[in-house]
Amino acid sequence: MATRYFGKPIKRNEDPRLLKGQALFVDDVNLPDMLHVAFVRSDYAHAKIKSIDVSAAREREGVVAVYTAEDLGDYWQPGPLLVPPPPIAGLTFNQKTQVPLAKDRLKHVGEPIAVIVAASRYIAEDAAEDVIVDVEPLEAVADLESALSDEAPVIHEDLDSNLSAHVVQEKGNYAKIRAQADVLIKRRIFYDHGIAAAMENRGIVAHWNAKEQHLKIWDTTQAPIPIQNGLAAMLGLSESQVQVVAPFIGGGFGPKIMMFYPEEVLIPWISMQLQRPVKWIEDRRENFFATTHERSQIHDSEIALTRDGKVLGVQDVFLHDAGAYAPYGLTVPINSQCTLLGPYDVPNYYSEFKAVFTNKTIVTPYRGAGRQHGVFVMERLLDLAAKQLGIDRVEIRRRNYLTPDQFPHDHEIVYQDFAPLVYDSGNYQPALERAAEMIGFHDFIKNDQPAARTAGRHLGIGIVSYVEGTGIGPYEGARIKVDASGKVNVATGIGTQGQGHFTSFAQIVADQLGVTVDNVRVVTGDTCEFHWGTGTFASRGAVVAGNAIHAAAVGVRKKILKHASEHLEAAEADLVLDNGAVHVKGVPQKSVSLGELARISNPLRGAVKPGMEPGLESTDYFGPERGTTASGVHAMIVEVDPDAMMVEIKRFVVVHDCGKVINPMILEGQIHGGVAQGIGNSFYEELVYDEGGQLLNASLMDYLLPTATDVPHIETDHIETPSPLNPLGVKGAGEAGAIPVGALFAQAIEDALSDYDLEILEIPLSPNRLFELVHMQAATKQES
């Protein structure tokens, strides 16, 4: 089969519609008689509800209904536990999931208390101010470290403490190897990740059509099928009565996964209660409180090495902020735990974490999903070791990489997908050498940096590596059908939030069926089109749905060849699929179009032969036994102004390995976007809370996202180490750009400010924080 599209940087099929404003987003759905919703939310991080008075709100003109927890009756249920804890021996897990409307206690600011349904959003927000919530404020659990102390108030009354989970995973024997190490380096390391801040906030429109007995829901979800099935069960409908459409979505990044958010659960129910379409669009302020975050971990970490810089083992004990509830289980801290090991051969590993309930917004995966935290710890420990041992930063990584003959590599611990953490494949050194070469690492250290320093300028360089477990199961599916027009329709169940699925999936199909990409129409995220699958998350779309689509395309190709072989009276082996038709090899005039074959296979008269199915259609599935392991190296040169503590990125290089590349342009877009979010996480974004659990910067004026002027040109290159676990040889790329950027910032800034002798053991940074660190360091030096 000729690959005319796979691997080519073709332009995206979906862009003309998006650029012309003709793509459907949830807020574009406007239906006759539609009602609008606003929520009354908690102003308190922790409080007892004494009473809720909604009478004034109910009387306001234009208000149709007001509901509190009491009004929900049996529909009031805690949300589902989306990911149960993995099978790890000795694990503790205290299950607590969010409720649709708070009943007795308020557990974080922004938790919904009442829902107002009105003729317009304006009226609904006016009425929300009419609601009087009488509370008894309680001391908030805002600090991660003191949350487990005996004095801390307990958030969930039926638990003894604020412990959400306790997990120990071990490999080898760290305690034993520690005694034999030449060098031990121990540090306390802090890493805080922020919010996804997608361009489009969440939104839901639900329309219960009583005459059709059909509920249609437009939802900004990454996982429409689990939402369909879950809501059907909650609402007492059959799954086929509920249609969930995830149309174009302005960014997912994790928090739009199948969360069964209170709003997601309530809006469809309200539509059924009132027999009218109902819309709720989250505003930016709500997004800060009501959409899940990712936040901080505090690691006490130690690395043991030989004097020539070979890692003997790592011990890492950390606290993880789970927020007020933990519906997504342990995915984030398990990712931190597993991804810490990175591309390195670490024979002995002791990792223990406690996940802690706090009076803050729920924590679930956001692009990187805890991997940043782990990578930061390991990369910082290696940098400290390199410095202490006088080894070059590139060299210490080279010395510790797993080598190609060590794959598949079993790390002997359990990953977030419940499978053992086994790297399927990898070849790390070429990416390191390539990145070092692209950025001119050694030349910079030898020439550029000293020359700049002489001229009074502070330039620094960083180079870090990481792996990313991607493309986890359980499975995805796809149905592909050739129309009588010759157009090809592809339907898959995952949602799309900007990943270019309409193009990369079309490329896979176009090559199998010998059609052009613009003749392949891809539908994602409509449960009426395809209703088996899980969703778009964990860098799995291309791997899992991509291979399902490939399998279905192979199925359709077989049917095409069978029908064409009969029609053209030629052996299948002699047939060529090209340009939307099948012809006999060497006899181009002996040809039949795919449209004609589609008609022949779906006759109006005559018979479909026994054993044959009508049409050129195939449905197939792909379920990987475990995830694939992508990897990469980032390098950066920065200039730091030591007066203003402003950091300017002079160059940014990414060498990435996600196996076979479907569309390099789309891949680069993924990496650029990830790097931008990584830069935000490292130097701009920070959720600032006070000790009462109040978020102090819930607007994009004070929560600083990097803008076009803060994100540099990003130079990329690719190494292709195909995955042996799937026919296309692909690995996920969605999160790679974001993961190692914090570690890179810390290393490069330390290098730029080498005369200040800083140790940067925290993210995020800021000019203010760098100023403090420099002054703290100066004070320490003076004392000693």
Binding site: Y122, D283, R284, M645, S699, M701, L704, T709, D710, F771
Partner: protein, 291 residues
Amino acid sequence: MKPAPFKYFAPSTVDEVLALLAEHGFDAKILAGGQSLIPTMNFRLAQPAVLIDINRIENLFFVREEAGELRVGAMTRHRTLERSSTVSRLAPLLTETMPNIAHPQIRNRGTIGGSIAHADPAAELPATMLALRARFKLASASEARWVEASDFFIDLFMTELQPEELLTEIAVPALPKRTGFAFKEIARRHGDYALVGVAVLLAVDEENICTDANLVFMSVGNGPVVGEQAQQALLGKKASAENMDLAAAAAASEDIDPPSDMHASSDFRRHLTKVLLKEALQTAFERAQKA
């Protein structure tokens, strides 16, 4: 994020506005460019009962020279000021200030009058107006008066402007000879409110003795802050690097008492003030020698 209900008026003359202000006073807010007011209303932090939109009042939009002064109508958009050759000729410090204000989209809507009347301590224009010794014309139904910038800014978001008054016009005296200027600020991202900013006028005689210094800081107090001690460190003295360092040190330690917030501690703001003032004085001095 929808505003609370309000009554909306869109008059077409200043007299109509003043009549509305006389009637509604405290309950009314003037809608100029709306770049601060509308977000505040959408957050429901401001819930004015009456909104008086002055975007249709044509004679509030002007930039002209009058008796050697720059005169600007209160509704003049930032973008107009930024691009005006009259402004750059008579008040180049104002031209230098403009690109630091937010982003082009915001400068297309935001107005000089709105920014001055709002008196955000982190905003650029109040500091620059103070440095330029501008005067503001405040009109009410009963009278019109001119107020010096130095008398106008009172406290956090508080000004001399009374509830029944409208700021209609700004007058900026042209720079005397051998007077240099500079505007510098440091912001987290381009277009953000500055962590610290400084607007400087500096005049020197032929011996480079400092004959005038007007130094104003932003984001370090409850309004634009005049660096009086820093000015004293320069007046009558040689405009040398040493004296500029002394002035910067005096500014940071004596003139300002900056607040700490999530973006910068008080100490960091003092440090940045020192760094910026040194740079700004150097630039202003170089310009003064040529002016």
